[in-house]
C-alpha cells in the first residue's frame, strides 16, 4: 500500500512530461532534426530515453524518398517512440514485494492516458514500409520501430529490474524466492508485451504478429538469462522443485510416518488419506485395495504443491528460464527423488512376502510418471503454434520410458538392499523379503558383481575383525549361506562371498572347537534355556538333523531330472562352474578345513569330554555321530565310534565284573566315574566302584592329575582290574585317577554332607578322615606328600572344601576340619574354637569359593604348563637330533632350524629356549662349547 502513492505520483509526472511533449512539441524536434539532416548528420531525433547509438532512420531508405516523406517519417517516429517508451521509476517496490501486488500495479499501468490520436496512424505509417520490404530482415538497416522497441525494453529492464532481481537472488535462502523472481519477470514481460499487443499488432498481419512476438520473446529471454546467472538460478530452482516434489510424491508424509514409527512403534492411525507408504500397502490384503490406495486423491497439501510447481514451471517457461535447462534440473530432482523414495519407503522393511517391487512399480507408474508427464507437458510446450500437429502425436513420456524408470527404481531398490545386506543377514530369517527383492536386482552380471563386491567390503569392515567372536562369525556365515541359497540357488554368489569368510575362519584357532561343540550341542536343552546361550552354535546341531532329512531326497543332485526346482547356472558363472556338493550349511562349515583330520581330532576331544561326564545316556552324541558319518564316511570317524562303543560296552562290562566279583555294594548310589571310580566314604560299608573302560588307542590324550587314591579304593581297583582281565584276556586296565566323579558322604559332628565331587577333591577330603572326634589339621605340603599330588591341586581341593564349609584354613596353607559349624555371625568367637579365618560367615564361604576357583584355575594352568613342557620335550628330540647330526650350534641357528623343521613352527621365544637349554646344560645333557654353541654330551 505504501508503494502505490509514489508510483502514482511518479507516473503522473512522467506521463505529463512525456505526453505533453509528444502532443505539443511535435514540430520542433522535427525541425531540429531537419536542420541536422541538412548538416548531413543523423536525422533521427535524439530521444532522451534511447541509448541506441546508430539508428539512423534515413540513411538507406531515403534513396527514393522525398524530403517530405522523411519529415513525415520523423514525425511519426517521434510520436510512436515517445508513446511507447517505458517509464522508469517505481519498480523497486514491486520487486521488493516479490510481485504480490502485481495485479494492482498492472491495473495502474494499463490505465494510463487513452491512446493519443494519431498513434494508430503513425504506427501504421512506420510499420507499413517495413512489412512491404520484409521488415524482419535485420540486415536491412531500416529504422525499425520493433527493433527500437526491443532495445527500449532491454534498456528499461536493465535499468529497473536488474538490481532488484539480483537482490532477490541474493536472498536465495528464503522460501519461494524463485517464485517471486518468476513473478517479477512475468510482470516485466507483461509490461513489455502489452503495449506491443495494444498498439502495434492491430496493424500487422497475423503471421507478422507471431513473428514479432517471438522475436520480442527471444529478446526478453536472452536478457533474462543475461541478467540472472544460471548457476544461482539453477541452484534455487533445484531447491524449490525438490521441495514441491517431495510433497507431491508423498515423500514428506513418508518421512513423517517413519519418524512416527520410530518414536513409538505401537499401532496407530496416521491421519493421511493419501499415502504412498509401503507399510499401508502391505497391510492391504487385496490387490484391488492396493491399487485404490495408490490412486486415492492426494491430500490438500500435495495438490497445493502440485499446483504451485506447475505454476512455477509455467512461469519459468514464460520468462525463458524453462526449456532444456529446466528440464535438466527437473530430471536431476526426479532422479534424486527416486533414490530418496526408495530409501524412505523401503529401508528396514524386510519382511516376507515382499511386495516392494510391485509397490515401487505402481508408485512409479501412478505418482512419479504422472508428475513427469505434467511437468514435461509444460516444459516441452512448443514455442509457437506451428508445431501443434507435431505435438499432438508426440508423447512426452512413452511406455518405454516408464519401463525404464521402473527398471531404474528396481536397481535403486537393489542398491538400498545391498547396502542393508549385512543387517538383513543379521536379522535372517525374519528378513527374507529383502532377499526376494534382491532377486529382482541381481539379473545382470554388473549388478551381481556390485552386490558381491559391496557385501564383501561390508563384511571386511563389520565382521571379519578380531572384535567379532568366532561363533558370531559362524552364525552369520550360516545366515549368509541360507540367504544366498535363496538369492541364487546355484551358489555362484555364495561362492564369491564365502571365500573371504572361509579364509578368515580358517585362520582362527577356535573355529573347529566352536563348530564341533555346536554340532554336539543339544537343541532341546537350548530351547529350554532360551536362545541366549550365545557361545554355542546350537543352530548347527539343529541344522544337522534337519538337512539329513532333506538330503535323503535330493541325493542325486544334477542328474535328478524330476527336480522341479532346478535352475540353470547364472550368466556370470564360470564355464567350469559346478555347484559345490556340500553347499548346505553343514557341508560348508565342515568343509572349512582342508583336512578332515583337524575336524575329527577336535571331534574326538570334545566327544571325550562329554562321554566322560556322569550321564545316563549319550543319545545326542550317538545321533550326531551317525549323521556325521553320512557326510564323512565311516572310516574317518572310526575313532569316535569306538569311543562311543567303549562307553556302552563299559556299562555292560561294568555290570558283569561287579556281578562276578561281588563288588556291588548294598547301597544303590549311582556312581560311575571314569576308569577309576571310587567313593571314599569315611565309614561303614564298602564303597561302590564303577568304571568306564576306554580303548587307549582310540581316545585322545587325556590330561589328568596323578595321585595316590585311598587304600580302600585302590584295593577295589585291584579287584576290579582282576575281574576285567579275566573277562578280557589280553587286555589290561590302567586307572586314570584324575578323571571321574565320586559321591562323598561326610559324617561330621553336627551334620552330614553328601555331594558328588571330583576324584581328587574326594581324595583330599579322605585324607582328613579320622576315627576320633578330634579335628584333623593338615598342611598342603603334608597332603601333597601323602597323596603324591601336585600342591596347587591340593590347595585347590582344600579351598573347594573350605567353600563347602567342611574345612577351614587355620593359617596359610594349613587346613582343619570344621566338625561343628560356627553358630552364626553373631557369636562366631564363641563357636567351636573358630579363629578369625574360620569366621565362616557366608561371605567367607563365598570368598573361599572364589579362592577355590582361583586355585582350580592355577591348577589348570599348571597342567597346561606341563603340557607345554611336554611339547618342549618333543622339541628336545629335535634339538638332540640336530645337535647329534650337525654338530655344535649356537642358539640362533637352533631356533632357525627348529622353525624350519618342526611342523607347525616353533612356538617359543629365543629366551624361553635359552632357559630350556640352560636347564639341559644343568642336567648335563648339553655343554656349551666355544662361541656359545651348544653341543650334545656324548
Amino acid at each position: 500500500m505504501l508503494s502505490t502513492s509514489p508510483i502514482a505520483v511518479g507516473r503522473s509526472r512522467i506521463l505529463s512530461s512525456v505526453f505533453s511533449r509528444a502532443s505539443g512539441d511535435i514540430s520542433s524536434p522535427a525541425a531540429w532534426a531537419l536542420g541536422l539532416e541538412s548538416l548531413g548528420q543523423s536525422s533521427r531525433p535524439v530521444d532522451p530515453h534511447s541509448h541506441r547509438p546508430s539508428n539512423r532512420p534515413s540513411d538507406t531508405s531515403t534513396i527514393d524518398d522525398s524530403l517530405l516523406d522523411q519529415e513525415k517519417w520523423d514525425n511519426a517516429w517521434n510520436i510512436v517512440t515517445a508513446f511507447l517508451s517505458l517509464p522508469d521509476p517505481g519498480f523497486e517496490a514491486i520487486i521488493a514485494s516479490g510481485g504480490t501486488n502485481e495485479a494492482e500495479f498492472l491495473k495502474k499501468w494499463g490505465c494510463h492516458d487513452p491512446t493519443p490520436d494519431g498513434i494508430q496512424e503513425a504506427v501504421a505509417y512506420l510499420v507499413a514500409p517495413l512489412s512491404r520490404h520484409g521488415w524482419l530482415r535485420p540486415d536491412k538497416g531500416t529504422p525499425n520501430i520493433l527493433t527500437w522497441y526491443e532495445f527500449e525494453m532491454r534498456r528499461h529492464f536493465l535499468k529497473n529490474f536488474r538490481d532488484g532481481l539480483l537482490k532477490l537472488l541474493s536472498y536465495s535462502e528464503e522460501d519461494h524466492q524463485l517464485q517471486k523472481i518468476v513473478h517479477c519477470l512475468q510482470l516485466a514481460r507483461h509490461i513489455y508485451v502489452s503495449p506491443l499487443g495494444n498498439h502495434i499488432f492491430p496493424v500487422l498481419s497475423n503471421s507478422e504478429q507471431k513473428a514479432a512476438l517471438a522475436k520480442l520473446q527471444r529478446g526478453f529471454h536472452m536478457m533474462v538469462s543475461y541478467v540472472l546467472p544460471w548457476l544461482e538460478i539453477s541452484a534455487m530452482m533445484y531447491r524449490e522443485i525438490t521441495e514441491d516434489t517431495m510433497v507431491i510424491l508423498g515423500l514428506d508424509a513418508l518421512n513423517e510416518e517413519n519418524k512416527y514409527y520410530d518414536s513409538d512403534d505401537g499401532s496407530m492411525d496416521l491421519d493421511l488419506q493419501y499415502t504412498v507408504s509401503y507399510r499401508r500397502w502391505k497391510k492391504e490384503p487385496s490387490a484391488e485395495g492396493r491399487k485404490q490406495l495408490m490412486e486415492e486423491p492426494e491430500t490438500g497439501r500435495a495438490a497445493e504443491a502440485r499446483n504451485r510447481l506447475l505454476t512455477l514451471f509455467n512461469g519459468l517457461q514464460l520468462v525463458g528460464l524453462g526449456g532444456d535447462k529446466a528440464q535438466k534440473i527437473f530430471a536431476t530432482v526426479m532422479n534424486a527423488m527416486l533414490t530418496e523414495f526408495v530409501r524412505a519407503a523401503y529401508s528396514g522393511h524386510w519382511k516376507t512376502p515382499s511386495l516392494a517391487v510391485q509397490h515401487l512399480n505402481y508408485w512409479i507408474e501412478n505418482v512419479f510418471a504422472q508428475l513427469v508427464v505434467q511437468v514435461l507437458a509444460i516444459i516441452n510446450a512448443p514455442e509457437s503454434d506451428e508445431s501443434d500437429e507435431r505435438s499432438t502425436d508426440h508423447l512426452d513420456v512413452e511406455l518405454s520410458d516408464l519401463k525404464k524408470w521402473q527398471e531404474i527404481g528396481v536397481a535403486r531398490l537393489g542398491e538400498l538392499r545391498t547396502s542393508e545386506l549385512f543387517s538383513i543377514i543379521v536379522e535372517w530369517p525374519a528378513s527374507s523379503g529383502a532377499i526376494e527383492e534382491l532377486r529382482h536386482f541381481t539379473l545382470h552380471p554388473a549388478a551381481r558383481y556390485y552386490l558381491t563386491h559391496t557385501f564383501i567390503n561390508i563384511l571386511n569392515n563389520r565382521l571379519l575383525h578380531p572384535g567379532a567372536s568366532t561363533s558370531e562369525i559362524l552364525q552369520l556365515y550360516i545366515s549368509i549361506i541360507r540367504a544366498f541359497n535363496l538369492l541364487d540357488p546355484r551358489g555362484v554368489l555364495l561362492d564369491r562371498i564365502a571365500r573371504p569368510i572361509r579364509r578368515y575362519l580358517r585362520d582362527r584357532d577356535d573355529t573347529v572347537k566352536v563348530i564341533v561343540s555346536g554340532l554336539l550341542a543339544d537343541p532341546v536343552d537350548d530351547e529350554q534355556q532360551g536362545r541366549s546361550s550365545g557361545d554355542v552354535l546350537v543352530e548347527l546341531s539343529t541344522e544337522l538333523t534337519k538337512t539329513h532329512q532333506r538330503a535323503l531326497h535330493s541325493n542325486t543332485g544334477e542328474l535328478d531330472w524330476d527336480d522341479m526346482h532346478w535352475t540353470p547356472d547364472p550368466v556370470d558363472a564360470a564355464p567350469d562352474y559346478r555347484k559345490p556338493k556340500n553347499s548346505d550349511v553343514i557341508g560348508s562349515v565342515i568343509s572349512l578345513f582342508e583336512s578332515k583330520e583337524t575336524f575329527v581330532k577336535e571331534m574326538q576331544n570334545m566327544l571325550a569330554d562329554r562321554l566322560l561326564q556322569n550321564r545316563g545316556d549319550f543319545d545326542q552324541e550317538m545321533s550326531v555321530l551317525e549323521l556325521l558319518k553320512l557326510r564323512f564316511g565311516d572310516t574317518v570317524l572310526q575313532a569316535c565310534e569306538v569311543m562311543l562303543r567303549d562307553i556302552f560296552d563299559s556299562k555292560r562290562v561294568d555290570a558283569i565284573i561287579r556281578h562276578d566279583h561281588g563288588l556291588s555294594g548294598k547301597r544303590a548310589t549311582p556312581r560311575r566315574p571314569t576308569t577309576p571310580g571310587k567313593a571314599p566314604q569315611p565309614s561303614k560299608d564298602v564303597p561302590e566302584l564303577h568304571a568306564k573302560i576306554l580303548s587307549h588307542f582310540f581316545w585322545p590324550e587325556i590330561q589328568g592329575h596323578e595321585f595316590k587314591v585311598p587304600g580302600d579304593i585302590s584295593k577295589l581297583q585291584q579287584r576290579y582290574a582282576d575281574g576285567f582281565e579275566s573277562l578280557k584276556q589280553s587286555r589290561k586296565l590302567t586307572w586314570l585317577n584324575g578323571l571321574g566323579q565320586a559321591t562323598v558322604e561326610l559324617d561330621l559332628e553336627d551334620r552330614v554332607f553328601v555331594d558328588e565331587v571330583t576324584t581328587w577333591q574326594a581324595t583330599v577330603i579322605y585324607a582328613f578322615q579320622s576315627s576320633s572326634s578330634e579335628e584333623v589339621t593338615k598342611s598342603i605340603t603334608q597332603l601333597s606328600e601323602e597323596l603324591n599330588m601336585n600342591p596347587p591341586i591340593v590347595r585347590s581341593a582344600c579351598l573347594f572344601w573350605v567353600s563347602k564349609r567342611i574345612l577351614t584354613e587355620v593359617e596359610r596353607d594349613t587346613f582343619r576340619v570344621l566338625e561343628v559349624l560356627p553358630t552364626d555371625e553373631g557369636d562366631h568367637a564363641g563357636g567351636a574354637g573358630m579363629d578369625e579365618t574360620g569366621g565362616a560367615s557366608t561371605e567367607t564361604a563365598n570368598e573361599a569359593a572364589a579362592a577355590a576357583d582361583a586355585a582350580a584355575a592355577a591348577a589348570a594352568k599348571e597342567s597346561a604348563e606341563a603340557a607345554a613342557m611336554e611339547k618342549m620335550n618333543l622339541h628336545w628330540q629335535f634339538i638332540v637330533g640336530m645337535l647329534t647330526n650337525q654338530g655344535a650350534m649356537p642358539l640362533q641357528q637352533i631356533v632357525m632350524m627348529l622353525k624350519i623343521a618342526v611342523p607347525g613352527g616353533f612356538p617359543f621365544s629365543n629366551e624361553e629356549l635359552r632357559e630350556f637349554l640352560a636347564g639341559m646344560v644343568a642336567k648335563g645333557k648339553l655343554e656349551i662349547v666355544s662361541g656359545g654353541s651348544y653341543k650334545i654330551v656324548q
Binding site: D495, P580, N582, S591, G881, M882, Q886, A901
Partner: protein
Amino acid sequence: MDYTMEDTQNSAPDVQDSKLDSSSQRNDTQSVTKRLQAELMQLMLSPSPGLSAFPNADGNLLSWTATITGPTETPYEGLTLKLSFAFPNNYPYSPPTVLFKTPIYHPNVDFSGRICLDILKDKWSAVYNVQSVLLSLQSLLGEPNNASPLNAQAAELWESDQEEYKRLVLARHRDVEDVE
C-alpha cells in the same frame, strides 16, 4: 554324501595361486618338503636306538646328515658314523643319495663313501624312508653282502680274518670333525 570329493570352494583359490606364482617343479618340492617333514617328525617321535638324522642347516630340507652308532658285537661297536642324505626332487619316487661321510672300512662301501645297497638302487620303493634306510645300513654293518663287494679286500678279510678286519676298521675310522 561321500566326503571324499574335493571341496571346490576350498581348493579353487589355492590351485589358482600355485598356478600363478610357481612352476610344477615347485609343487614337487613342496610335496617333497612335506614328506620329509613328516619323516623327521616320525624320527623324533619314535627314535630308534643308535640312529638319528636331521636336515642340514641350508634350510631346504633336501639334504640331511644322519648318524649311526656302530651296533654292538660288530667290528664297528662304539663308532660314530656320519652319513649324508641328498634327496631328489621327486623323492620318494627316487631313492636318496646316501654316502658315508666318516671314512669306513666295509665290503660294501668304497673309499669315497659310496654304498652298494640294493634298496638304495634298483630295489628302492616309495614305502622306504630315512629310518628304514638307516636301519638297513645299520644291519649292513654287521652283515655285509660279500657277494658284490666294492671293497674286495674287506670282503675277503671279513671271511678269513676278523681280527685283522677289525684292526683295519679302527685304523680307517676318523671322527668326522677330525676329518674336516
